[in-house]
């Protein structure tokens, strides 16, 4: 594809570069692919959110509220499957990453644009296959597909696991693309030590995607064969080992947690220095911590299995290694706070989301220690404590960071500004709603309420009810964000090319960016956060 040579002056940008639906569907421009990913993942986020609201509404009181047990089981399965495989995994890397990684390294595109487009369609195909089961008997295994239930269930687990299998390839393609892009396409002068931390985070994420995703591909494939013809590797009724499935599953799915969280940390790494007008405190330590987390993430999966009849030696090893996740995570959290020290803190919406992220993620991280400790995990695992913990990490970590990133980069993507006041208020609603929803779940869990329960003892009613009220607050807050953000695309105030006075390369071009990102490839002479404000 030879590129178009007529750039019609200043107003030419990637949005008006080609016209018509095909110029989007067949585009090789990483920015447009990023936008397509953005809308698609947000669409699935909407579906997953509806499922979440239904689950929470069912739990507003003990007994049957709005649906039967089977419908409830399907609702939480779809909530988990959609949110994990179709939303949080691709959300930041494939949407924001696709758009901004090439720009931040000063490249015109990712290394393999066609592979990039293929990754989008593979994702779409997998997601369509998995969600189409809504109309084909549904699925009720929970997103973890534990054997032997997933083998025995009469619902349509086969199609969903094949959907996950296909989406895995999309994730691998994205990761592969990013690795090569960062290795080979950095702008002159952009040494590793000048690379923005968002790129570092995406780089570590990509490595995990390439190394771990093939294992889930194989696992889902084996589960499919197990259901289709009974190959007996995981099915105890045929002499297989159901706990082996859990090993295979978590060898991917634990690192996958970091596929979800690391890009979020990357976004926060961009926001905090920019709005503190100060370089990142301990840049090298921050970059190393990202890699430390990524590496350790591969050898801790067994902490999901402390009560699974796993051997005590494995429990010992996994608990010990898991403890070391806390160290690089601590380094990052302390580093963010220290970056604010003696800075000039500007209270704009992205920074508010960064505050919210710090608050929520710290709770998520600290409660992780409860679950890494053997004895306390025995009591807390499989209860609402775990549900609260991973929502604090995934929603608190990833979604808060994503919202922060959206507000940070929205003017760059569309060239228009959103309403700052509304954005700040919506941020407050989401933050409060989030804590009202999930904090009671810690208490529920420590008091013993198991997860995935359709019905519960009356003593848990008050906390569940509080949690349900909170879910409405989150829903309302997100809806509000959607309204003013979409309004901003069409009617928002025109944004300048660098409204936040940031130093990274994506801000050194027009808003919205030019079709090839830069008219001339920039030369980098300094670190990403050397603001030198006068």
């Amino acid at each position: 594809m030879s590129h178009d040579e007529h750039h019609a002056g200043e107003s030419s940008n990637y949005l008006n570069h080609g016209k018509g639906i095909m110029s989007w569907l067949a585009t090789l421009d990483h920015k447009r692919i990023g936008i397509m990913y953005l809308w698609t993942t947000l669409l699935f986020f909407f579906f997953g959110g509806i499922a979440a609201l239904l689950v929470r509404y069912e739990l507003i009181a003990p007994g049957q509220t709005i649906m039967t047990a089977d419908q409830y089981n399907k609702a939480f399965t779809y909530h988990g499957t959609i949110m994990v495989f179709m939303v949080i995994i691709p959300l930041i890397p494939a949407a924001l990453g696709n758009f901004f990684l090439p720009m931040q390294v000063g490249a015109k595109d990712v290394a393999f644009p066609r592979l990039n487009l293929a990754s989008y369609y593979v994702y779409l195909a997998g997601a369509a296959l998995a969600t189409s089961t809504l109309f084909l008997k549904g699925v009720d295994t929970g997103w973890t597909f534990y054997t032997p239930y997933s083998i025995r269930t009469g619902t349509n687990a086969s199609m969903v696991v094949m959907g996950a299998f296909i989406m895995g390839f999309s994730s691998i393609f994205t990761g592969l693309n990013f690795i090569v892009t960062i290795h080979k396409l950095r702008a002159p002068g952009l040494t590793w030590s000048r690379l923005p931390l968002f790129c570092w985070a995406l780089y570590a994420t990509s490595i995990i995607q390439v190394l771990a995703t093939p294992v889930i591909a194989l696992t889902t494939f084996l589960l499919f064969l197990e259901r289709a013809m009974g190959i007996g590797i995981f099915d105890p009724a045929l002499g297989g080992d159901p706990v082996l499935f859990q090993h295979f599953f978590w060898f991917y799915s634990h690192p996958a947690v970091y596929i979800m969280v690391l890009p979020g940390m990357g976004v926060i790494n961009e926001i905090i220095p920019v709005f503190s007008r100060k370089p990142m405190f301990g840049y090298t330590a921050m970059a190393l911590a990202i890699f430390g987390i990524a590496l350790v993430s591969f050898v801790v999966w067994g902490h999901h299995m402390f009560v699974s009849n796993q051997s005590d030696l494995a429990n010992f090893l996994f608990s010990l290694i898991t403890m070391f996740v806390a160290v690089p995570t601590g380094v990052k959290v302390f580093g963010w706070v220290a970056t604010m020290y003696k800075g000039r803190i500007i209270f704009k919406t992205p920074m508010l989301y960064a505050f919210a992220f710090l608050f929520v993620f710290t709770i998520g991280g600290l409660t992780g220690i409860f679950l890494a400790t053997l004895a306390s995990d025995v009591h807390l695992t499989h209860t609402y404590f775990v549900v609260a913990h991973f929502h604090y990490v995934m929603v608190g970590g990833t979604i808060m960071a994503f919202l922060g990133g959206m507000h940070y980069w929205w003017p760059k993507i569309w060239g228009r500004m959103y309403n700052e006041t509304q954005a700040k208020l919506a941020c407050l609603v989401i933050f409060l709603g989030f804590n009202v929803t999930f904090f009671p779940q810690f208490v529920l869990g420590s008091r013993g309420m198991p997860r995935r329960y359709y019905d519960y003892l009356p003593e848990f009613t008050a906390l569940n009810r509080m949690s349900t009220y909170g879910s409405w607050m989150i829903g309302a807050g997100l809806l509000w964000v959607a309204i003013y953000m979409i309004y901003a695309i069409y009617r928002g105030e025109k944004a300048s090319s660098n409204p936040w006075n940031a130093m990274t390369l994506e801000w050194q071009t027009t808003s919205p960016p030019h079709h090839e990102n830069f008219t001339t490839i920039p030369k980098v002479t300094d670190g990403p956060y050397e603001f030198k404000d006068a």
Partner: protein
């Protein structure tokens, strides 16, 4: 690795690409063939555990040759070498930590059914689609072991686990609510495919499913019999003594497609 710090002009153009000389390729090929022969030859001798170690050492040697020369890793950039070797590091993590559980678990060595039940030995009942006292007794034994938790020992659908189910488990003593009739062939179909919260019992041998069907029809006030047409519809060849699926020697593709289409129904 200064060359990858920036892709500014020059460094790549001057990079000379390594080309594998033909004579070298043929030499490697001969070595690979020789070691394939060694692997096969040495497998005839019994060295105990060493057989495996030798076989793996030879395979690794061969693999290294392929990597270094055919794939040119020896002449490739260090970056690519590191990238490729990383994969083996993570495979090692995967293996060691999984072994730390599975191989030393005291109470959880994978066991269970050694053989698929449909293939377990010769059929016990001839023409299991015909109800006989023997097969009904067999059905009762199976029912008491597998079904009473939900259906109750008197077949009234009120077993201890029924409280949580919606719709309620089938009450076999009542005649109403059977959409497809109460014939044994229909019940066998339900056992095979499952219905609502009733799981599929396809792993039970076909004759056991028939035995169960004959037993549960006894709970009802009347016994519906299968017509020959019903039996044909249920896939029974009445001219034979056993159900056709007991010994499966056909290509599994049909079986898989059938299971898949049931999944999607």
């Amino acid at each position: 690795m200064s060359h990858d710090n920036h892709h500014s002009g020059g460094s790549h153009e001057e990079h000379k690409h390594h080309i594998l000389p033909e004579s070298m390729g043929i030499k490697i090929w001969l070595i690979l063939l020789f070691f394939t022969f060694i692997t096969v030859w040495i497998a005839q001798f019994d060295f105990g555990a060493w057989n495996f170690i030798i076989a793996m050492a030879v395979a690794t040697f061969k693999a290294t040759l392929v990597c270094m020369f055919f794939m040119g890793l020896k002449y490739d950039s260090k970056e690519n070498v590191v990238i490729f070797c990383t994969s083996f590091l993570f495979v090692t993590f995967f293996m060691i930590l999984t072994f730390a559980d599975v191989l030393i678990r005291s109470d959880s060595i994978p066991k269970g059914e050694a053989f698929f039940k449909t293939a377990s030995g010769p059929a016990k009942f001839k023409k299991p689609w015909n109800s006989t006292p023997e097969i009904v007794a067999h059905g009762k034994a199976l029912f008491d072991a597998q079904c009473v938790t939900c259906h109750g020992s008197a077949g009234q659908g009120n077993g201890p686990a029924s409280a949580g189910l919606n719709p309620k488990p089938r009450n076999f003593t009542a005649t109403d609510g059977w959409k497809n009739g109460r014939k044994p062939s229909v019940i066998v179909g339900t056992l095979t495919k499952g219905l609502n919260s009733m799981p599929a019992f396809a792993t039970l041998p076909a004759e056991d499913r028939w035995a169960l069907a004959h037993y549960v029809t006894q709970f009802g006030p009347s016994i519906d019999k299968d017509s020959p047409a019903d039996l044909t519809k249920a896939g029974v060849d009445t001219s034979k003594d056993v159900i056709g699926e007991v010994v499966s020697k056909s290509v599994p593709v049909d079986f898989v497609i059938e299971r898949m289409s049931e999944d999607n129904r």
